[in-house]
């Protein structure tokens, strides 16, 4: 048993190395970074962070990112809930084809859609708003949420529904008062995944925004390259993008493994 645990430990060390490098770099001065190799900051400085938190063009990037991620998560899960119920409980005309069609959108390369999305969202006047990014991310998040929720819902015995209907519950009342609390864990996992994929996706987020709704991570590469490699600032902005992910993982840590198996274990 002892000998075996060396494998996960080595793997986690490997995972932490680049993160360590990014975080230490964020506390170094630009001169130190470019001046040579130091494993640990010699002149510990918070300047990069100070700059990010005092400059609205920087910190508004975070606000924009969080904004579209939250809108996307709420819309995706809310829309996916009834659909997942239909897929898990009923057979209807074209259900299997529809399910596969939904999944194909998870498989669509964002590069294929970037240009048409730009034109579509410009045409409907949503370009450069968090709504454009949030709605475009529903393309792959709704299918994903349907898939996960369907997995969790299929684990709930059908007798629950039947008993409730016999007891005189109407469908909406049953769904909201009984069914949703029953699959709360599944909803949490679905939210987590929508959050995750909306947070990490950058190609569409970058294409669909110009100034006002520019996400932080996209801002990062831009500013770093125009003002001549300010690697400290780049590293600080990068480090700050790790935090929301870490917080969200902590909340779902007990369901994370089952969630990644899409509720189908």
């Amino acid at each position: 048993m002892r000998k075996r645990s060396i494998v996960p430990i080595l793997y986690i060390l490997f995972l932490m190395l680049p993160i360590y490098w990014l975080v230490t770099m964020s506390f170094k001065t630009t001169n130190e970074i470019l001046g040579g190799f130091t494993a640990w900051p010699q002149n510990f400085t918070l300047d990069s962070y100070r700059k990010i938190f005092t400059d609205p063009t920087w910190y508004m990037g975070y606000v924009a990112s969080i904004e579209y991620v939250v809108i996307n998560t709420i819309v995706s899960v809310a829309v996916a809930l009834p659909a997942a119920y239909a897929f898990s409980r009923y057979r209807f005309l074209g259900d299997k084809h529809l399910f596969f069609w939904l999944l194909t959108n998870r498989m669509a390369p964002a590069a294929v859609f970037a240009l048409p999305f730009y034109q579509l969202y410009s045409a409907v006047g949503l370009f450069d708003t968090p709504w454009a990014v949030a709605l475009s991310h529903t393309l792959f998040n709704i299918p994903l949420a349907v898939w996960i929720l369907e997995g969790f819902m299929s684990g709930v015995p059908k007798e629950l529904d039947e008993t409730a209907y016999v007891d005189g519950y109407s469908f909406p009342r049953f769904f909201i008062n009984i069914f949703i609390p029953t699959i709360a864990a599944g909803i949490g996992v679905a939210c987590f995944f929508c959050f995750m994929f909306s947070w990490v996706e950058m190609l569409l987020a970058k294409t669909l925004t110009a100034v006002a709704a520019k996400p932080i991570a996209a801002l990062m590469t831009k500013t770093a390259s125009t003002s001549g490699y300010e690697l400290g600032l780049l590293a600080a902005a990068g480090t700050l993008t790790l935090i929301p992910g870490a917080v969200v993982i902590y909340f779902v840590r007990n369901y994370i493994a089952k969630g990644f198996a899409l509720g189908r274990v």
């Binding site: 075996r4 494998v7 996960p8 986690i12 995972l15 190395l17 680049p18 990014l22 770099m25 040579g36 190799f37 494993a39 819309v75 829309v79 009834p82 659909a83 239909a86 897929f87 057979r91 209807f92 005309l93 259900d95 529809l98 194909t104 498989m107 669509a108 390369p109 590069a111 294929v112 859609f113 240009l115 048409p116 999305f117 034109q119 579509l120 529903t138 299918p143 995750m196 947070w199 990490v200 996706e201 950058m202 996400p215 590469t221 770093a224 690697l231 780049l234 790790l242 929301p244 992910g245 870490a246 969200v248 993982i249 902590y250 994370i256 493994a257 990644f260 198996a261 899409l262 189908r264």
Partner: protein, 287 residues
């Protein structure tokens, strides 16, 4: 579960249908439009039939980036699936360390993709990066911005770093779900560790492994942001994968016709392969 036939269920699915159709069908039709037309700017289009498809399918550039893409996905699957499985098998099943392991392992999955690229960029820089400096100090002549081999090595390592955890988490979920009785029965029979793996764990992991392969295949085939930030497709065009090439054609050169044709071909390849995986998966599920 035996499902009842109910056509009214369509009403429950309708919102999803509307959302996804808006996002999928309109842009897809735009792409189809481009792919069969010729344009000289000023929004003047003329019909060009399958011209762009023929041109794309015969172009050396497309063959080269498709070849690189297939090679990349093959390498990624060959490394990440066995590695992820091995790590999941070695992980503790209960105790306080499980949560710690899971949280730390999931961390790379939640980092925005271009931050992953920048992170590996500063990590692998030959002069000032920990990895680049370290490899050079060990006597390797490592410079990913100049040598194609080093660029490939860095990208593959980055992807292993980024996504192996997904395979680990999936396999781990599958392993935890195996009832303890199976192991006890194996113990009574005096089964070796290999036999336990081959005849108990592997069959039970079939479903999660299929999902892992499907997800890893799709995502590695669509890789764009990380590679774009790390190498920009270079040096030369040695790491120009399909998405990067497509982006260069569509937004760099604004050649809408070829870009449209390329998009459709690209999408069809993914669709066909995913359909194969999906049918296999659904057949497993039906058993």
């Amino acid at each position: 579960m035996n499902k009842t036939v109910n056509q009214k269920a369509w009403f429950l699915v309708l919102p999803v249908f509307i959302f996804v159709a808006f996002n999928a069908i309109i842009p897809l039709m735009t792409v189809v439009n481009y792919s069969v037309q010729e344009t000289f700017g000023n929004n003047i289009f003329s019909w060009s039939g399958v011209h762009w498809f023929q041109e794309t399918l015969q172009s050396d550039r497309f063959h080269a980036s498709l070849g690189r893409q297939i090679m990349f996905s093959a390498i990624i699957l060959a490394i990440e699936i066995p590695l992820g499985l091995a790590i999941a098998l070695a992980m503790p099943r209960k105790g306080p360390w499980v949560s710690v392991c899971l949280v730390l392992m999931a961390l790379p999955l939640l980092i925005p993709w271009n931050v992953v690229g920048s992170m590996w960029n500063v990590f692998a820089l030959p002069e000032i990066g920990l990895m680049g400096r370290g490899l050079n100090a060990l006597g390797f002549d490592f410079n990913y911005t100049r040598q194609p081999g080093d660029a490939w090595f860095t990208i593959v390592l980055m992807d292993v770093w980024h996504w192996t955890s997904l395979v680990v988490l999936l396999c781990y979920a599958g392993l935890v779900a195996i009832p303890n009785d199976y192991y006890q029965a194996a113990k009574i029979d005096g089964a070796s560790a290999w036999a336990v793996f081959r005849f108990i764990q592997l069959p039970k992991l079939k479903r999660v492994l299929t999902i892992a392969i499907l997800l890893r295949f799709m995502d590695s085939f669509m890789i764009y942001t990380e590679v774009q930030v790390l190498t920009g497709g270079g040096p030369g065009s040695s790491t120009t994968f399909l998405s990067i090439d497509l982006f260069k054609v569509a937004l760099g050169q604004f050649d809408l016709g070829p870009a449209g044709a390329m998009s459709i071909i690209y999408f069809l390849i993914i669709l066909a392969l995913s359909w194969v995986f999906y049918t296999v998966m659904m057949r497993n599920e039906a058993k």
